[in-house]
Assembly symmetry: C2
Homo-oligomer: 607 residues x 2
Amino acid sequence: MQENTIIRERLARLRVAMARRGVDACLIPTADHHQSEYVADHFKAREYFCGFTGSNGTLVVLNDEAGLWTDGRYFIQAERELAGTGVTLYRMADEGVLTINEFLKEKMRDAETLAFDGRCITASFGQGLEEDLTPQGVRLDYGFDPAEAAWPERPALPCHPVYVIEDALAGKGVRGKLSEVRAKLSEEGAQCLLLTGLDAICWLFNIRGNDVECSPVALSYALIDGEETSLFIQNEELTDAVREHLSAAGVKVRDYREIGEALAALDLNGRAVLLDRKVTSYAVKKSLEDAAERTGGRVIEGTEPVTLLKAVKNGTELANIREVYLRDSAALTRFLYWVKTNIGKVPMDEVSVAKRLDGMRAELPGFIELSFPTISAYGANAAMMHYEATPEKYDELKPEGVYLVDSGGTYMGGTTDVTRTIALGPVSDEIRKHFTAVAVGMLRLANARFLKGCTGRNLDILARGPMWDMNIDYKCGTGHGIGYILNVHEGPHNIRWRALPGEKEAEILPGMIVSDEPGVYIEGSHGIRTENILEVTEGVKNGDGQFLGFAMLTWVPLDLDLIDPAYLDPASRTQLNEYHCLVREKLEPLIEEEEIREWLREATRAI
Amino acid sequence: MQENTIIRERLARLRVAMARRGVDACLIPTADHHQSEYVADHFKAREYFCGFTGSNGTLVVLNDEAGLWTDGRYFIQAERELAGTGVTLYRMADEGVLTINEFLKEKMRDAETLAFDGRCITASFGQGLEEDLTPQGVRLDYGFDPAEAAWPERPALPCHPVYVIEDALAGKGVRGKLSEVRAKLSEEGAQCLLLTGLDAICWLFNIRGNDVECSPVALSYALIDGEETSLFIQNEELTDAVREHLSAAGVKVRDYREIGEALAALDLNGRAVLLDRKVTSYAVKKSLEDAAERTGGRVIEGTEPVTLLKAVKNGTELANIREVYLRDSAALTRFLYWVKTNIGKVPMDEVSVAKRLDGMRAELPGFIELSFPTISAYGANAAMMHYEATPEKYDELKPEGVYLVDSGGTYMGGTTDVTRTIALGPVSDEIRKHFTAVAVGMLRLANARFLKGCTGRNLDILARGPMWDMNIDYKCGTGHGIGYILNVHEGPHNIRWRALPGEKEAEILPGMIVSDEPGVYIEGSHGIRTENILEVTEGVKNGDGQFLGFAMLTWVPLDLDLIDPAYLDPASRTQLNEYHCLVREKLEPLIEEEEIREWLREATRAI
């Protein structure tokens, strides 16, 4: 194995900075100051110091060793990217693998110092560190920014224009949203809230920005303080139109960089501020606690209310989302048609075809940006759940085996996410068996009927069961929420078989949007995923309760070349045929070319 | 509606006692001092004061009103039994129905007193009352025993001989079990434990008793105090053999009535005592806290370790259980044969046929007692989940409709539980549809494969889904654990779609026993339940984790007269046929009579 000297030098520089500050261990999460899932380059210190490019991972650097913790989606990719860096991969949730806290407990001694940037970890995570490490005499230094200290070429803070989402598109005005938030706050006994989630803030103020790749959000904080509402946002990002929009809603605008000062001056004066330790940073928590002590207020622990309000879509949002998904589905279907009919005739590679698909989306009305970098993975590459082909490293597509494409766009009208796996030529029986099981799982979940009160944990086995029946698991959740002209991943709900650590599982509620994406990932061989997006709908209400179900939002054929009827039970076969019948009915009006229509009819034939 | 004067007089007497003590509200749970599910007559104060005979319910008596809280299994029965008593039924978990605490919060005022017997509620429940009521100035008086105060004819404390379960039958000796408990205690950082659960104590000391109906347990407490172990049990219950058995295991025996004194004298001397607020009484918690304060010890909150140790059966237990279930299944099958072939020819009623079945069990080797009172319910009666026919009130069985029998025995070798619903003649299409859905649910759960780490909440939808698909729910869990020559219901695991309030859901582990009993209950029409008992087994272990599955313990035909193939998907049909094939294979050697064997072959034919 060759040494990765670039990473080794960066780590050496970091260790010098650590020594200078008297720090024995440094923890670097993948996070900005807002717990965003995707972070701007300015905040990519974890990637900088270890070379792992996945979207989730925490680096711990000691004087003589370093470890990276990441989840099952990234095991294969991280193994490759960490090679030669001297950084050890810790496979999270695998049997016998130490957690970060267990590792630190084992390594750190009395009077040693663990340093991190308290703005980049949640209050909850910070409290866990306190509980696990301070009893053994470890000191926490939460004011250390490793990027500031040892990343000379660090990119600047992103700064892009903000725009307004008009009420007709948002379905609800800012004043209305603010009263709902205040009502929820008051239910929790609080009058004050510091919002830090960028998607929550953009939703609340009906604005969007462009500070984070694939997330139409702006760096910001919002402070709801009694009757007063302040938005902290970079002055340079605001146009007059945005200023007017905010002012009309009674929102006071302050510069993003004033948040520290504002928190230091926060006067609670007997009032209570709500703290959600799952979303608020450790540093902000400390500031709020200081404010409470300093000015005679209280910190109440609770659930930040915007995330749930945002997750339950209103009628306008739902109508727009349905429309956007239909057009997005038609674009993807055209793309799949092109790939399937031209493979072997036209040269294709993972990067070139992704570019083609991205281009097709960009031409759709209201296109803003991709909702995440398109995952375009051929053959064994698709076994890496979040594989990203790059111009430097990609594979050719050949007329054999399977190709997986997971993609989506954000449009003025909704954010999409969809995955299809297609045959490019002959495939093994095993692949067809796996594809069929994945299709069965996707359809079973999509056709579920269940009582209100269920969380995703009640439903996960419907999608995952066909894989478990083959002694196969996919090491990720089955489904995630999706924002409205916002982040492609949002909570509070999800569909998983195990709760995330410390998660307060959220009920599945009518109006929520959730993905349904079971898969099979066989390292070194193939990866299969089929992802439809579902809208939660109300069913019958009777003496037994309120029944709920799902409606499909995605209308893209599942590749029948990959279905092995031997593994398709009759109920799933009916569901597949019914789905394809609707796909045909819905897409035909959007497709003019007779040859594509003909292909579509064949691709959606009843089997 | 006629007034129930007996109950009204009892409540009046209780209110006089309350007034004398200055009590404004009195809470009477269904509980002994050990949180047993079935309680001895001595402890049936709740039933005495309101007339409701179900196994779960809490009565709250105010000066001018009274309410009974019970769960979905009992709504129909409670409605009937409370008629004319003036006691209002509160349907727990129904939408908009106040919880007990919400009710008390609404009704009670500053400086008023809520009284209860602190020995009869859990520490957890008591703490909930403290948190909800003391802020509004309500005083809690936990030393009030309403039975002592207003139940002149209260039965005496039960007192029956105890016997020993030899090591060969227990599979593990007392000393071995005690070291496992001490190891678990030490993992929690504790050295001291007061065990109050009667089944936990009997399992730990390899003894059984007869103080509670349908539970082979003895009233007792156990104190593990460093290296010393004491069993508090009524002296009159002990034979020399039991004393020798306990003494050989190093267990000190003290009288049951000395527990108060022992707790008052408990010297922790710097040590920590483990408190599990879910199983320990509020009164004991107060005593332990006193002891900790008085003698410089600590109370550590944690999970009482015996329940889990007991739930994971050892090899000897499993081998005996399999054998016992086989014989028990053969007896029930003979019974079903007799009912189905004699209905319309021989007079039958719910009580007489139950007596016949109970008698057949009593003749089996090693029979100790019924594991619960046989539920023998014809027609609409079966819609009441825990219906009990009595010599005073029962129905005739007629050659039409369906009959449900839920029954079991405790034998030297295991405790059984099984439900079958059979056609006695012509039935409606709806009944066959419902029966088929129940069978499909039971079989899907029994045939599940899943990863270690799942709790019952991950699996419940497999059994319940076919009912939800018809917009029908059954208002109870799908499955419960079962003891070994012990209680028919045991934790810590279960199969439910929602966790019980405050429940720490337990993983399903290999060696556990769990019931699989979906149902359909249509008030006023019919009730259907099919219950098999499952053993959790280990499947493949690979890079994705340890897969688990179930093996059947119950071998009794499902009535094919009630299966409507239109609702039977092919996978379920295969599972049903495979199950019936095994039933036939396993039961044939146990049945000598050719006419029954012939009937069995027909009843288990492939469809």
